[in-house]
Symmetry: C2
Subunit: 518 residues, 2 copies
């Protein structure tokens, strides 16, 4: 299977349906098809060969969908860039998989000189903004107009579709390789678990470089539904788009849901068109959910649990368990059950399945699992063992197969839906001259679920304030990874085996709350 | 992907749901899982190795589902036998792919001596009937009880799942090879096009050795719905089962639908539970459909068009085009549109796509296409060219992508949903000593759609009646392939290229009707 097939089918069956809406600009599937075939031609003319990586550093727009489809249509592999990362992190990910062509929008033009300096792989910068083409860039619109449409390269099955970088436990981002088959199968399995009406209107406000966002876009493409894009999430933007475009499907991470609920305008906005709210990617409280049910009483709620390495969702908590009657079944604190086609087990350290109710690691065998981490065969072999992806998430399964995520084995903080690997932040902290030792943990945060918190031991005779430390970190890593709070100690609690006992550091912060997704 | 995954998932998530109902016997998914794992063990103990073919010659029952799952679970490949074939045809198909183990039910025990004589490949006959085990058979129940459950062999992806024999144009049946992926993907694509409720109850009255029947069973397995089996179709049996088990989904070929409508009991039967009627596999008239809408006003109707070589359906005419409002769209005479994931084109003799509205051959590129014909690389290469399956069906496509099947290129009659290849019948006819030349065509038939009709030229100085000819054919080929009517001519109309001009023979029979599916 392949992603471009849906575009062929759309043109054969419903060419004049609206495919994309962005900032007042609308295009039909016929127009999308024409642009994609030309843009693919432009990419080939720029030297893109089969399997070459092409990146995009931009906020969401209709151009995002064109980017994905044109790269695949022309035979390439997408490398969508996490827009929240620092220039150093982005440059690393581009260089790591040798991305030569990069799409850039207005928001990221200023970052380009730094990227060029750190990522010599970059050869062509394609401008997809709304202003005159800046110096040093090639206008995507101009390239498209000059190119002839090319035939679909038909990348499919095991062919690599994308390299998706995620924060690395070892301090360097890892490129998750997903095949055409993995992405296409994920869309089908998700649609079987939670059908999407042909007349649905999806609002994409969560970033589309993330698998959670992308997988919703791919499901929409399969069904031929309308996509409304917002450059980013704002409560006002979402409320306006819902009312203007009669949006039926929202995909939100809990922090977005909370911003929306906290906005006074939500109480007077016309949200009557909303039929489905998909949420996931970070812990949610039942109190927040209850408020959401109150705001959108007519909507079905669906929760997904997944990860980039599994091409997004592997469990769904479907609408029936969110309904007034369904809530009494006591599954609302769970992430739901494995999708069709997905083998999911709770296993011990040796990979043996545990009895129901016991907490262990979630292991998944799925046709949507990654092909591996780019150029990291050993890390791949650690994660994918005997065909099972070891997620690093701790959970228990009840008698009905519902998965309750209770903690993470990976030393990681999930803040506002983004994974922050503690090791990476600790590496940045210890580069500060005053820091002798550092330990990073997640602490509860009303809006972000968790916030990054640093515990530091200073070198004798030195001083540093929390502000000093934060300013230092911002020069090295993305803003969202920098500690929001800093604590100083005389010494870190060390175990007999010489490891920092982080649970002791977490204790005072979490004593009033259960940590985790549930 | 693989078919057995759904059984693992069922046991994890809803072990106590009813999986099968047959003749008063019910089993849950937990029980089905237990029996399948043991039966797979029994098959391995009988010598089944990875990839070995195992056959079943039986009417529909809960044992049919167990057969499919146990063979796959144990690592084997299914070879489900067309129960309507003659012993000679069945023996050929078993011998062709070297089936050593054959499941047989009470209806087919009497045929076994003849099969044994003609198919020396047969080593073990597993009895799945309801009587004491006949001499020469091993009781499947006894073998199952004596065996230990074995782990799932996890056959998946490109692994061969089954060899499905279809009548051959050259007079010999061809074994269509379908992979685990092809079957699993077909189920998902069908479910996306036409979702199946989790609480659905499917009635299997069409034969499950056919892909049309099997694919419905596989869809049911994915969703974990209840399956009610009838040994075969009778109007009374269907009406009783619907009322007793509150059946929601019927899968019927048009001739069955007609029998049902013609039965006076249908007018008083409780059919209120029926929500979906799937139909297909042979031509249908709009008049028949109108009657069906009248009998089942509350039901959604869905038509499928497909073939064994494509693992069943490739187009669906969905419920919306059967509704009172939808009928006005004028698509009811079509077979619907290509499923997601399926590239479908109308092509000329050189494989070039034709403009909309022009009649050409249906060509399909699909992840569900066969791996090839068993041991027939040349025939495979003729059918599968550049990745496209050439169906032999003639059709046009309208502006909205709807496919109107208008004729068949293959020299074939479709009678009651079964393909009858004219070449095979002609070969049988010309073995009669009085027959000098024979041409077989399809003629209109109220119940069967088409009926097999023979046009014969007798040798000078010989005589033969239609009855003589029919009796002769029955010794060589299956009853349904034998001519239902015979016509004698002095000479066949021969073209300049020396071919029989069958269209001239068909003309007088079809002048009042449009031939074809539409």
């Amino acid at each position: 299977m392949r992603q471009t097939q849906s575009l062929h089918r759309a043109v054969q069956q419903y060419p004049d349906r609206v495919a994309t809406v962005f900032n007042g600009r609308r295009q039909t599937f016929r127009q999308l098809h024409e642009r994609v075939a030309r843009l693919a031609g432009a990419l080939q003319a720029l030297g893109m060969r089969a399997g070459d990586r092409v990146g995009m550093l931009a906020l969401n727009s209709d151009r995002t969908l064109e980017f994905y489809l044109a790269v695949w249509w022309g035979g390439g592999v997408v490398n969508p860039v996490n827009t929240r990362w620092s220039a150093a992190e982005i440059a690393f990910s581009l260089q790591d998989c040798e991305t030569a062509i990069l799409f850039v929008d207005d928001a990221f033009v200023p970052m380009v000189p730094e990227l060029r300096a750190q990522a010599p792989c970059l050869q062509t910068l394609l401008y997809v903004g709304e202003q005159p083409v800046p110096a040093g860039f090639l206008g995507a619109e101009q390239a498209l107009a000059a190119a002839a449409p090319v035939p679909d390269a038909l990348r499919s099955g095991d062919d690599l579709a994308g390299v998706f970088y995620t924060g690395g436990t070892t301090g360097r981002p890892k490129g998750v390789m997903l095949s055409q088959e993995a992405l296409a199968t994920n869309a089908l399995l998700s649609l079987v678990a939670s059908p999407l009406d042909r007349d649905a209107v999806l609002l994409h406000s969560a970033p589309l470089f993330h698998l959670a966002g992308l997988s919703a876009l791919m499901r929409s493409l399969v069904m031929g539904t309308k996509n409304v894009f917002l450059p980013g999430f704002t409560p006002g933007g979402v409320l306006r788009a819902v009312a203007e475009e009669r949006v039926t499907n929202l995909m939100l991470i809990p922090v977005m849901l909370q911003f929306l609920l906290d906005d006074p305008a939500a109480r007077t906005a016309d949200l009557s068109s909303v039929r489905v709210v998909g949420y996931g990617a970070s812990p949610i409280s039942e109190a927040l959910l209850e408020r959401a049910f109150g705001l959108l009483p007519q909507a079905d709620f669906v929760q997904g649990y997944g990860m980039t390495e599994l091409a997004a969702g592997v469990t769904y908590l479907t609408a029936e368990y969110h309904s007034a009657a369904g809530r009494k079944l006591g599954k609302l604190g769970s992430a739901g059950r494995a999708l069709n086609g997905v083998d999911l087990r709770i296993v011990d350290a040796d990979g043996r399945e545990l009895p129901r109710g016991q907490v262990g690691e979630i292991a998944v065998r799925s046709p949507c699992a990654m092909s591996g981490y780019w150029n990291l065969p050993e890390t791949t072999a650690q994660a994918l063992r005997d065909g099972w992806m070891h997620t690093g998430d701790a959970a228990r399964m009840d008698e009905d197969g519902f998965v309750f995520v209770v903690d993470r084995f990976k030393d990681m903080v999930v803040s506002g839906g983004e994974n922050v690997y503690c090791g990476e932040v600790e590496a940045a902290l210890t580069r500060h001259p005053a820091v002798a030792a550092a330990a990073v943990i997640g602490v509860p945060h009303a809006q972000w679920g968790e916030a990054v918190h640093a515990v530091l031991v200073l070198r004798p005779g030195t001083t540093a304030t929390a502000e000093d430390i934060q300013a230092h970190c911002k020069t090295l890593i993305a803003g969202y990874k920098c500690p929001r709070s800093v604590e100083f100690m005389a010494a870190l609690p060390i175990s007999g085996a010489g490891k920092v006992m982080k649970y002791k550091l977490r204790e005072p912060h979490w004593k009033e709350r259960q940590r985790g997704v549930a």
